[in-house]
Assembly symmetry: C2
Homo-oligomer: 250 residues x 2
Amino acid sequence: MATRLFQSLLEQRACSDCVLKPVCKPAIIDPEQLERLSDHVLPRRPIAAGACIYAQGQTVRSLFVSQAGVLKTETLSAGGQTQVLGFHFPGELMGLEAVARGRFRANAVALEPCLICEIPLSALDVAASRRPEFQQQLLKAAGSCLADQQEHVGRLAMRQADERLALFLVGLLQRAERISGREEESIHLAMGRSDLGSYLCLAIETISRTFSALRDAGILVVQRRHLRVLDRSRLMKTVGVSQSEESRRA
Amino acid sequence: MATRLFQSLLEQRACSDCVLKPVCKPAIIDPEQLERLSDHVLPRRPIAAGACIYAQGQTVRSLFVSQAGVLKTETLSAGGQTQVLGFHFPGELMGLEAVARGRFRANAVALEPCLICEIPLSALDVAASRRPEFQQQLLKAAGSCLADQQEHVGRLAMRQADERLALFLVGLLQRAERISGREEESIHLAMGRSDLGSYLCLAIETISRTFSALRDAGILVVQRRHLRVLDRSRLMKTVGVSQSEESRRA
DNA sequence: CGGACCCTTGACGACTTTCAACGTGTGTGG
DNA sequence: CCACACACGTTGAAAGTCGTCAAGGGTCCG
């Protein structure tokens, strides 16, 4: 065990030269904390698209953060159907929901080639004992995950399909803009219609139709997984004001 | 600030005589940890039904655990509508989702008379610095919240209304049985149809109709908020096997 | 006893799902 | 280099479920 940690120390790369550093908002907010933690983060590991970084039922030994690339988490429900629980963008902590029971509750699958940082649970303890404030950071990261999940519930509560999808797209825009720091107008969807449908609890046909409706309305340009936002204000307005409500008011 | 903490120490009651102790699984798992923490938990406070223990937008200074009584958390969305995000049973940690941004994202409202434990964030720090393992407990509590929320997303993914409601009821049964330690057959709903509908993303009429359907099927006895489970196995079977699927197979 | 609130029930309409067929893009093999 | 297969995405038509509107019944409290 100690040898393993030692080995990881040998192989480590400092987080200070990690592209994640300015991005890693939810996972580790304070760059100073990052330095502390860097002693115990395993080296980043490249992951192929479609590969699994952890699987439902496995024992939890580490948490994960993507440095580059988007992942999805999905559970296999009783009926054998898969349910996409979330998408995880660079800098977002993964696996926390598993520590309570000690086993992963879902598969984490790379949607595109990824660079993954693995953080052994033992490293968290070490980091926390060295720097008590680190616990606060960790707690904030946990709170952030929880807040994300709650936001998703809020999305699902949007009754109409167009509201749900629009809210999701706005979220994507904002996440991308937080990273790049500038206003974005194009969106690349890392996930297919199938994953999107499962995530938003809509049939893939409904996803497709809703994209078409947004296209016909002149709000989006849709080319498979590449989107361009033509009318940002109307996209925002779609959230909370569904088509049916609009037509009812007219 | 220090005075305030000091005062809380004077008023404190030991968690060791807390009815929550054997119950407090998600919040603080190890009774020994409870002792540690007890030095810094504010005295329990009785809360009237309908009262608010924290409100959306307020600055977070403490986390909360109910000792007795169920609460709901709800957000006011842009449209002025409220969305129930969760129900919180005794022993479940509340407020964690707020620590990331520093402000509560929802109102926490008592559905019945409650006894609430308030845990100042500063107390968490103190407890963690005294006992490093406490961080693990806290992390598990956070993971537990996250897992609960994910389970709820899984519920919302159940397409049919009867599946969602049945899954919710099964969850209630299991929670009650975890606390009492014996098999329960009656359920008391702390929440009205309105909150239930918002939580499950269904109209209250649909909730009502679904209850009636379960009653007509001989699965439940429904008397307002008091339920009795007549046919547990068929209630379980309703989860994952909706009426329409059953009739389709027939 | 009246009123307010909560819950139930019915009818209708709208939205989404389902089933089915049809493009389109990509990759493999000839 | 082309042909084919396969996965992915789109579109159409029909059916079903749930939401909305409306009315009625039950319970608690003043």
